[in-house]
Amino acid sequence: MITLQSSDKDVFEIEQSILIQSGTIKNMVEDDFTFIPLPSVDTETLIKIIEYMKKHADKTDSKEKNIKEFDKDFMKKTLNELFALVFAANYLHISSLLELLYPSIADRIKDKITEAIRQIFSIRCDFTPEEERRIIMDNKWAHEGTEIEGTLD
């Protein structure tokens, strides 16, 4: 059994066989660590990560459809939760989870306007007005004439 400690100092005891889905944890286990502090992952996120790994630990054929359903539901979280998961999964090197998260998040942010994204994530715009104008100019190519014939017809 391996003990994980979240950034909130909560501890979780999990079987090694489940945790080796995380490349990071696997490396530490191979170096004989049994207590692994994770200062970058909060309790809420760690619980979800453990839930994911438990479900994916048993990859026999009969469970495959089950796992797919689980994955679909697992993605039904707020954008903030998904981002917290992607950073944690990135740090922990859980590639199967990342491959689920990246396209899901991409899909959720693509139709949102700039201001909406900033609000959702409480990001302040750190550009000067001049810089922002410059970026809009630099990216103008992406929004010009959608037709092949351009301005002609």
Binding site: S40, F83, H93, D107, F127, I135, W141, E144, I148
Partner: protein, 287 residues
């Protein structure tokens, strides 16, 4: 601008420390955002560059743009346009390619579709071999801003209509469609209003014109079509060709003919030939 984001595949302790996550998105690792963005289309990626500095840097990561650029982008920049590629971020190269660029002494234009990165080409009538082009009784080059080349070949009247062209170009692998851009009637501008002169339009309803495309493997695709649609620019679909090897130049030939000498025909503007990936061709009007 545009620091290359490190790929998550190379893992040293320093990089792991760099990737340590904090809860505030302001501290978000650039590489992580870049990986999310890599699943989006180019216009969406560039839109998100506006969100914050981290997003802007992530949006410029070369690894995102490498797979989106056409495989022949270096050929286009270096050999066709005579431009340098080294030292420029791939996002910038993609942006540059998305606007039409003229080459071959202004007789051709090349660009990529901004959503898919598909390579498109236009070839001016100036680059084609037109029977009787030097005889002003038959053909004239007339200036017009309705052509991306600012000029079209206008046919007043002729018995033997033959327009031939050929192309050698290193296309990325894929299937491409070729079109002739034609217009019945002579468009002019009167007091900023578009006017059309139809006095020479005749003979198109008697016999169809023939389009032909010779594909890279030597096959000939032929189609016939009655030209109608007076007063509108039409892209007439000539045929498709497949490029199997993107590392060598593809050679094709194309033609528009109507050589039935029992009647004359006239009033036709020949602007250009358009080549684009077949997947993009559906939105064009053609016969």
């Amino acid at each position: 601008m545009g620091a290359n984001a490190s790929s998550i595949d190379t893992k040293s302790d320093d990089q792991l420390a760099f990737l340590s996550v904090k809860s505030n998105l302001d501290d978000v690792p650039e590489a992580c955002i870049a990986l999310v963005l890599s699943y989006l289309d180019p216009p969406e990626i560039s839109k998100l560059a506006r969100v914050s500095r981290v997003f802007r840097a992530a949006a410029s990561a070369d690894f995102i743009w490498q797979p989106k650029l056409p495989s022949n982008y270096k050929y286009i920049f270096r050999e066709l346009l005579g431009l340098k590629v080294d030292g420029l971020g791939l996002k910038d190269l993609y942006a540059k390619l998305s606007r039409p660029r003229s080459f071959d002494a202004g007789t051709k234009e090349v660009w990529i579709d901004k959503n898919s990165g598909g390579v498109c080409l236009a070839i001016s009538s100036k680059r084609m071999t037109i029977t009787g082009i030097d005889d002003r009784r038959y053909w004239n080059h007339i200036p017009t801003n309705e052509s991306r080349f600012q000029t079209v070949a206008y046919l007043q009247q002729i018995w033997w209509l033959e327009v031939d062209g050929d192309l050698e170009f290193k296309f990325p692998e894929g299937t491409y469609s070729l079109f002739f851009r034609l217009h019945l009637g002579k468009a002019t501008k009167r007091h900023s209003r578009r006017a059309c002169n139809y006095e020479h339009v005749h003979g198109w309803d008697l016999k169809p014109v023939q389009f032909q495309l010779t594909t890279p493997d030597g096959c000939r695709v032929t189609s016939r079509c009655y030209l109608d649609n007076i007063g509108t620019w039409m892209q007439h679909h000539v045929g498709d060709f497949v490029v199997k090897d993107g590392t060598v130049p593809t050679k094709i030939k194309f033609s528009l003919t109507q050589i039935d000498c029992t009647h004359t025909k006239g009033g036709l503007c020949v602007d250009s030939v358009l080549i684009c990936p077949s997947s993009l061709a559906k939105e064009l009007s053609y016969c």
